[in-house]
């Protein structure tokens, strides 16, 4: 039957991951922009302190509140510190907090959600009730309470931020797993001799990556705002640490007296990084999901 043989012929060869990434990024100008900004921010986070033209902590009483100039691109603050250097140096700590809390929340939340969704029954009820309890608190207030109780170190801010984001991952993973559990390939995996841990790791988790990557990317933005928010109200990092939220908080009062650059530049950095992660959330599924190739 030649016609059938032709219909069953082979289609184009599978593309490599790098080609996929390249295609996803170049295919959409917004993705390209997000990619470029991410590279910029990551560069600043890694090499920021080394690249900074001035010491971000060095005060200079003779040059307080100087407007942006060739020497101080973003101007100086009330203690004469170079705002450009401080914004650059702040990238690392803000990204560290966001990345730390998101990875922690995503890992723990996905594991819990997968188990709840796949095993059902008591596990599901237990995890569900725990998350309901967590969600019953105003989340930001909960984070404030944790940091206030445990002390405001970077580790505590990461943990508090991770905890308030946990329910979102648990819910997402639980719902998606509940749908996947019915899929034929899960039954086929059992038939192939796979036990539950292997099924979760090899068959469920890869199918959760696309929605999770979107969630994680959006979450990075929230986590940054969260960390900045905690610092803004005085529960995050302490002065004189160069941190965006803290810098906005410290500079907020100067807007009224005309020194707008003090809070503006760290604010813009914060806004751009949140935007970057939101835009990335649209790009990632195209890379992670083979069906969208």
């Amino acid at each position: 039957m030649p016609s059938v043989a032709a219909a069953e012929s082979v289609r184009s060869p599978p593309p490599t991951p790098w080609r996929l990434l390249a295609r996803a990024v170049t295919g959409n100008p917004l993705s390209l922009l997000a990619g470029a900004m991410l590279v910029l921010f990551l560069g600043a986070a890694l090499f920021g302190p080394a690249l900074a033209p001035h010491d971000p902590l060095l005060t200079n009483a003779s040059r307080t509140l100087a407007p942006p100039s060739a020497d101080h691109w973003f101007g100086t603050d009330q203690l004469g510190r170079d705002i450009f250097s401080r914004v650059l140096a702040g990238t690392r700590v803000d990204f560290l907090i966001a990345l730390g809390s998101v990875s922690l929340a995503a890992t723990l939340g996905t594991t819990l959600g997968m188990c709840a969704g796949f095993l059902g029954g008591r596990t599901d009820r237990l995890v569900g009730r725990a998350m309901d309890m967590l969600m019953a608190f105003p989340l930001f207030v909960l984070a404030m309470a944790i940091v206030a109780a445990l002390g405001n170190s970077v580790a505590n801010i990461v943990c508090a931020s991770a905890l308030i984001n946990l329910p979102f991952y648990v819910r997402l993973a639980r719902t998606e797993t509940g749908v996947l559990r019915q899929a034929g390939f899960i039954e086929a995996a059992r038939l192939s001799g796979a036990r539950t841990p292997r099924i979760l790791r090899r068959h469920v988790l890869p199918n959760l990556l696309a929605p999770l990557s979107v969630q994680a990317s959006l979450n990075m933005g929230w986590a940054m705002l969260n960390a900045a928010g905690l610092s803004f109200i005085g529960l995050g990092l302490r002065p004189p640490a160069p941190e965006w939220g803290l810098m906005v908080s410290e500079g907020a009062g100067y807007v009224v007296s005309g020194e707008w650059w003090v809070p503006l530049f760290p604010g813009i950095a914060l806004m751009l990084s949140v935007l970057t992660f939101n835009l990335l959330g649209d790009t990632l599924p195209a890379v992670v999901d083979p069906r969208r190739r």
């Binding site: 059938v4 069953e8 390939f185 995996a189 059992r190 038939l191 890869p206 083979p290």
Partner: protein, 323 residues
Amino acid sequence: MGPLLELRNVSKVYPTKRGSLHAVDGVDLDIFAGESVGLVGESGCGKSTLARLVARLADPTGGTIHFAGRPIGAIPAAAFAGQPERGRIQKVFQDAGDSLNPRITVAESIAEPLELLRGLSDPRARHHRVAELADLVALPRACLDRYPHQLSGGQRARAGIARALGSEPSLLVLDEPTAALDVSVQAVILRLLADLRARLGVSYLFVSHDLQVVRLLCPRIAVMYLGRIVETGDTATVFAQPQHPYTRALLSAAPGGRHGPRIRLDGEVRSPINPPPRVCRFHGRCPQGRPECTESAPALRPTPPGTLAACHFPSATPPNPPS
């Protein structure tokens, strides 16, 4: 030698809000080594549930299942993955697309039972065996590094069969393996299945609603109605001299019209929820139902042509002339 698979009084009852749903109700079935048995019946008669019970993907609520003499019915389905019988009973799914993980390549799907059930831990040996299996089912090797959505329906069906054969099963449960395929591809896949059985000597439990397919592939047939087997025996004999009124109606409804005038079944299928134990399941739809049929449910009994039928009045109408 005893049968390879022996089902005795196997039931699957699902609790529902309105009562207990008897999906499979007291089924006896033997499959011998190398034999191919066709299981036919209309939608909702419980044939897919029975296939899942035999493949040990679901737990029976009653009765016993013996495989090669060993009782396997009481082992929970989740724990059956670790049993030595897991590799010996495999299943080919109705929807091959749904049965392949969209996130892993076809080769990885086929390799999984090789690793877990055959203990093939060396990736190169596994790769070699995957290629062999692909050749066995005539799946182009170039398809192996692809994802399921990049394959055609026929290629996916071949991949599903290759995976099921990887653990070298002695019993293959085929749950309407061609129902999701185009007619032209169906014929090719059915030929492949017939060819594989001849070459490998695997037993088939072939679930289908297509009587012609069963007639071509299975020397023995079991007709199921509302959770029970109503007639079973040699396929040619059942086709030539159907004894149960339901079998007669089923045959008369088959396209081709070679089985006499069409028998129309009036009335509704009885509910599988809390069925009265003493009433014949077919009563109410049966063209020859009598009061006796509501007093005791018929069991499978030998009939003159040598088949088994569960009817108080087998062959009450003259048999159809052989086609």
